[in-house]
């Protein structure tokens, strides 16, 4: 909404500076997005009268004009065809500045010196008209600043009006707010509505859908079409609307002034000289003013002629058929109240938002339809020589009553933390049109947002001013803040990954079908977006891996192939049986690609899956997960390279994730797990066990086993031989060679023994060594001790 200060001043005598007014509007909740001062770019242009027009001695198309401007006379060269003696015009003297930082200088045109320039509308930044020099009213004071004469000294406040405030979509509504704020008088001339008749002229109005159109006021008048006067065009232009014709301009003018959208039909082009308001038929078509054919549904409301042909989509846009034109001689003016939700629905479905629909959607004042139409008729008489037919048609079967709302001062103070009295509350509300008598408020019908006590509490808060509310902090002894253990664990997980050299990334949780193909086992049970803006963002990710792979590819494409990335976030799966909402899992994924940097100390080497396992084990260690295992893959993992993928299990073999080498080029290794499930696993307590002060004995054992034997299995067999005396079993060498035999691998372990209460003797260590060897041989038949 573009609100002109000069227009506001017609209703309240506000003298505050524009910056202070903007501040007040903000404090009132009418947010100022910009302040526009249209005359700011014009400087030194004054009002002058043309004394004489002479031909140019050396040119046909340009002439010489002598002008007077109060304290002098000058000669200018002018190419405009419309200049004549006596005309009062804008005169840019030498030194003046026009929009676009165009400085006027003395210059010779075909040998004649021009002492400035006479200006067209376009040169003053007033529009596109460049056909001639602007003609000012003959009585405009000579020598005065042209900005005053043209109304360019105006200030335009560009306001963002919230959806609950239809009243502020009109100049009078804004003026009312400012008058209340600055404690100024506020007056709107009330126009007496014409007396109600059934037939005006020879026209009738039939409203079939009264719930969608609770009120319809129709006025008939003969008009003389033409342009609207300059002052009206100026205001409409500054308000952001294009002047069209005197009749259309008046309807727009009243809409902007009173938040009263109107529509003028060319009565001569309405079949049957009447109006029927009805719902559209399914699939019915009509062409709107913008020359677009619209297909309608029974949810759309139509204004039709007496023969039921659609002439307008109610409250949104008129049709081309009965549009007023230069040939119009008689109009039927519609001033209606349409039910807001219906307008909103149709406007949304058609993608058609107009100045009118923006107002109907918010809910205009049903009781203002008559006075609004009367205001328009007054202007028609002024600018279009209108002669109104007697009386007004007014279909208003159930007039809207002003709502009565109980308001308790104690409740106001309870919510605002104020200490207002009854009379203070009433005094704050009165300038807004809300009358309070004995704790009952009567709200105006131009404020449909005022229905409940709480609505009035908000009004009191606005009137008191938010900056005058004392700022406090709740002091309840019951509030004790903190993160849950799960929330702390999630932070820990990220910190561990960061410590392990992984960069946290965020990838879009919306994927394309193609992203899933690379991860073939993800295509079942996926959750799709019903109305995606792009097909690339149509699937809710079932895994973090596609995003991580894409991020790695992004980096590789920018010359950074060596990355370690991780992400924490929600992944989605089909709803569980009986649920409507999808399964949401808080997942942790990490991916490592390219090389591991070892240089300059050792050569760099390619990433292996064991690199990806490192931060995972660090996390298990930090979380003290009691029984975590990287076991064989339990399901097919299509995105991973066969033979290099394993399931992550906790407790009794519950699978919480997967680790492996991805089936991508270039190679990348990754893991992904259900972080909350991992955190919910059995955890080791952080308790203290005394640390032995006796010396340790270390032995090394190397076994040659079949390659089916997993290192972790052998390790746990060794460890189980003397849990109380074995401090550590560490795999220190893995060796494969033809000399060992086919499918054979040598696994070498270092075992550290230590007793809590004594130094182990050589005999004891020897026995422990033998136990370990025997256990390994027993558990893995065919295993051999390597010499």
């Amino acid at each position: 909404m573009r609100a002109l200060l000069s227009w506001i001043r017609e209703f309240t005598p506000i003298e505050a500076a524009p910056a202070d007014i903007a501040d007040a509007l903000n404090q009132l909740g009418l947010e100022v997005e910009a302040i526009d001062e249209p005359g700011r770019d014009i400087n030194g242009v004054i009002v002058a009268r043309i004394l004489d027009v002479l031909p140019h001695p050396d040119a046909d198309r340009i002439r010489l004009a002598d002008v007077e401007f109060g304290d002098g006379e000058l000669r200018v060269v002018c190419g405009a065809p419309n200049i004549e003696p006596g005309m009062v015009v804008p005169f840019a003297r030498v030194g003046a500045v026009l929009p676009g930082d165009f400085k006027i200088e003395r210059r010779k045109i075909r040998g004649i010196v021009s002492e400035g320039m006479l200006c067209s509308a376009r040169e003053l930044g007033l529009g596109d008209d460049h056909s001639g020099i602007v003609a000012l009213p003959p009585n405009t004071p000579l020598g005065s600043d042209v900005r005053e004469a043209l109304g360019l000294d105006d200030v335009v406040f560009e306001l963002a009006i919230t959806p609950d405030r239809p009243d502020a979509m009109g100049i009078t509504g804004i003026a009312r707010e400012l008058a209340a704020h600055f404690a100024l008088p506020f007056t709107v001339e009330e126009h007496e509505p014409a007396p109600v008749v059934d037939v005006s002229g020879d026209s009738r109005v039939v409203v079939e859908a009264t719930d969608r159109c609770p009120r319809f006021v129709g006025l008939v008048a003969t008009v003389t079409m033409g342009e609207s006067p300059a002052w009206m065009q100026r205001r409409l232009t500054l308000a952001g609307m294009r002047p069209i014709s005197n009749v259309v301009d008046v309807t727009n003018y009243v809409m902007l002034e009173r938040c009263r959208p109107l529509h003028a039909f060319d009565l001569g082009r309405l079949a049957g000289r009447g109006i029927v308001v009805r719902l559209a038929r399914d699939g019915e078509k009509m062409t709107t003013l913008d020359d677009v054919e619209r297909t309608l549904t029974p949810e759309d409301l139509l204004i039709c002629d007496a023969e039921r042909s659609p002439q307008a989509i109610a409250g949104i846009m008129g049709g081309a058929a009965a549009e007023v034109s230069n040939a119009t001689t008689e109009i039927l003016l519609e001033s209606a109240y349409f039910e807001p939700f219906g307008i909103a629905k149709t406007a949304k479905r058609l993608g058609l938002r107009s100045e009118a629909s923006a107002r109907f959607e918010r809910g205009i004042d049903p009781n203002g339809a008559g006075t609004g139409a009367a205001r328009a008729m007054e202007l028609f008489e002024q600018v279009a020589a209108a002669v109104p037919a007697a009386g007004a048609i007014d279909v208003y079967p159930q007039p809207t009553e002003r709502p009565r709302i109980t308001i308790r001062t104690a409740r106001v103070n309870q919510l605002l933390g104020t200490a207002l009295t009854d009379s203070q509350v009433a005094d704050e509300l009165r300038p807004l049109g809300v009358d309070v008598v004995d704790g009952v408020a009567t709200a105006p019908t131009f404020r449909p947002d005022l229905e409940r006590e709480i609505d009035l509490v908000e009004e009191v808060a606005r009137r008191v001013g938010l900056s005058n509310i004392t700022r406090t902090i709740p002091a309840s002894p019951e509030k004790i803040g903190g993160l849950t253990p799960q929330q702390r664990d999630r932070r820990t997980a990220s910190d561990v990954l960061v410590g392990a050299g992984y960069d946290e990334v965020f990838t879009l949780p919306l994927l394309a079908q193609a992203d899933l193909v690379a991860h073939g086992d993800l295509t079942t049970g996926i959750v799709e977006v019903a109305n995606p803006l792009r097909a690339e963002e149509s699937i809710l990710r079932p895994s973090l891996l596609p995003g991580l792979v894409r991020a790695a590819a992004h980096n590789a494409a920018h010359g950074l192939p060596d990355v370690a990335l991780f992400e924490q976030g929600t992944v989605f799966g089909a709803p569980a049986e009986g649920d409507t909402l999808p399964r949401e899992v808080h997942a942790l994924g990490a991916l490592r690609a390219g090389s591991v940097r070892r240089a300059p100390y050792e050569p760099d080497r390619g990433v292996s899956v064991h690199d990806a396992a490192a931060p995972l084990w660090a996390l298990i260690d930090e979380l003290r997960v009691a029984a975590f295992e990287i076991g064989p893959a339990t399901a097919s993992h299509v995105g991973f390279r066969r033979g290099c993928v394993a399931a992550l299990t906790i407790d009794n073999g519950t699978v919480v994730g997967v680790i492996g080498e991805l089936d991508t080029t270039p190679a990348a290794c990754a893991f992904e797990l259900d972080l909350d499930a991992l955190c919910a696993a059995t955890r080791l307590d952080r308790t203290f066990a005394p640390v032995s002060r006796f010396p340790a004995s270390t032995i090394d054992l190397a076994f040659v086993v079949h390659t089916d034997v997993l290192a972790a299995e052998l390790q746990s067999v060794l460890r189980a031989t003397a849990p109380n005396l074995i401090e550590e079993v560490r795999l220190f060498d893995v060796f494969r060679s033809g000399t060992l035999g086919a499918h054979k691998v040598s696994l070498a372990f270092s075992m550290r023994f230590r007793a809590p209460d004594r130094t182990l003797t050589d005999d004891e260590v020897g026995r422990l060594r033998k136990q370990a060897i025997d256990a390994a041989m027993h558990a893995f038949p065919g295993a051999e001790l390597r010499g």
Partner: protein, 355 residues
């Protein structure tokens, strides 16, 4: 020196002798050209068989009244020699250390096995926000990202067809009845879920991901992050809301940054406010970040609408409350100067390494 020539000397002679030994010792210490030589000199002049010890032995032979003078001279000589020895030893030790040839290690080489990752800037601000509110006595609540229309709109006083729904372009999910399952457009549904699941008093914040039907470009993203706050208790006022937001702004940006509140409209709060702060860059003077207004808008807030309380079965006469919400990504953009939203989402490590 074993001839014990001190025996039978007079007291004056003994004092003179101590002086002489001191002078001789100092010369010898100075003349020692290595730590071994110095050790020899030390043994000679300060060891058990040193001449000063012999003078001490000889004291017994002089008259009792003169013994003190001799003892004093011996002690002074010994102290002087010890000090000189220490000084010389340090000199020689330093010289010896310098003399050892050694390999020079280039410590400007890169660190070995260096690994350090980086948290995403959104995570950093997310945690900072949680910590501020935990400090104010709040717990952190969560809710699903795919929501029912009831939680995202209806229970929050957005009836079907309400124009305020149009303010948030919604992505719907192909589940359940048409347009009943959606990607939450704000973190506010967590409010409803918390109020349904626990009685007041409630002091929570709910950071999380939210979705809008938008294309990823410099200023928009179909996914972004918000943090929601909800307080429900007896006696909560609009003043508490304003004070709490002011406290959070001070905690995050410093006490010289002002909080500003303007009336606004949200279906689920009333009175509703929009809050912002004086520009952290120009301190209110006007710059490009704040579009020359001196103020930066942060988010929306208000007193919980009685309709919302009724929808979740809380008596709005007994309890009052406030709620607030604002964008985390926006704060990240402001605080770190991130000018393009895509940076948040494309996983570029050159971005990550800056935080």
């Amino acid at each position: 020196m074993s001839e014990r020539r001190e025996a039978g000397m007079s007291a004056a002679e003994l004092v003179a002798r101590a002086e002489a030994i001191k002078a001789e010792g100092l010369d010898a210490l100075q003349a020692a050209d290595g730590l071994n030589a110095l050790a020899d000199v030390e043994r000679r002049f300060l060891g058990k068989a040193s001449p000063l010890n012999e003078i001490r032995e000889a004291i017994k032979t002089v008259d009792g009244s003169e013994r003190a003078a001799v003892g004093k001279a011996v002690s002074a000589a010994r102290a002087a020699l010890e000090a000189a020895h220490e000084e010389r030893r340090e000199q020689l030790a330093a010289a010896a250390a310098d003399a050892i040839p050694r390999e020079v290690v280039d410590l400007t080489l890169p660190p070995r096995d260096y690994t350090r990752g980086h948290l995403h800037p959104v995570t950093r601000i997310w945690r900072e926000l949680e910590d501020v509110f935990v400090g104010l006595g709040y717990k952190v609540a969560e809710g699903p990202e795919v929501e029912l229309d009831w939680y995202n709109f209806e229970a929050l006083n957005f009836p079907p067809g309400h124009p305020a729904r149009a303010m948030q372009d919604t992505l719907y999910v192909k589940l359940g009845e048409a347009e009943q399952v959606l990607l939450r457009t704000h973190t506010s549904p967590v409010q409803v879920r918390v109020m349904e699941s626990q009685p007041p008093p409630i002091y929570i914040v709910a950071p999380g991901r939210v979705y809008r039907r938008d294309t990823l470009d410099a200023r928009h993203s179909p996914v972004f992050h918000q943090i929601e706050g909800l307080v429900v208790d007896r006696g909560i006022t609009l003043g508490d809301l304003l004070g709490t937001i002011e406290a959070f702004i001070h905690a995050l940006f410093g006490h010289d940054i002002q909080a500003r509140f303007l009336p606004s409209f949200f279906p689920f709060t009333e009175p509703s406010v929009e809050f912002g702060m004086s520009c952290v860059f120009c301190r209110g003077g006007g710059c490009t970040v704040c579009s020359k207004t001196g103020w930066i808008e942060l988010g929306g807030a208000g007193m919980v609408d009685p309709n919302v309380f009724t929808a979740v079965g809380i008596d709005p006469e007994e309890y009052t409350g406030f709620a607030f919400g604002f964008g985390i990504d926006r704060l990240v953009q402001l605080l770190y100067g991130v000018d393009h939203v895509k940076n948040i989402w494309d996983g570029d490590v050159r971005f990550a390494h800056q935080f």
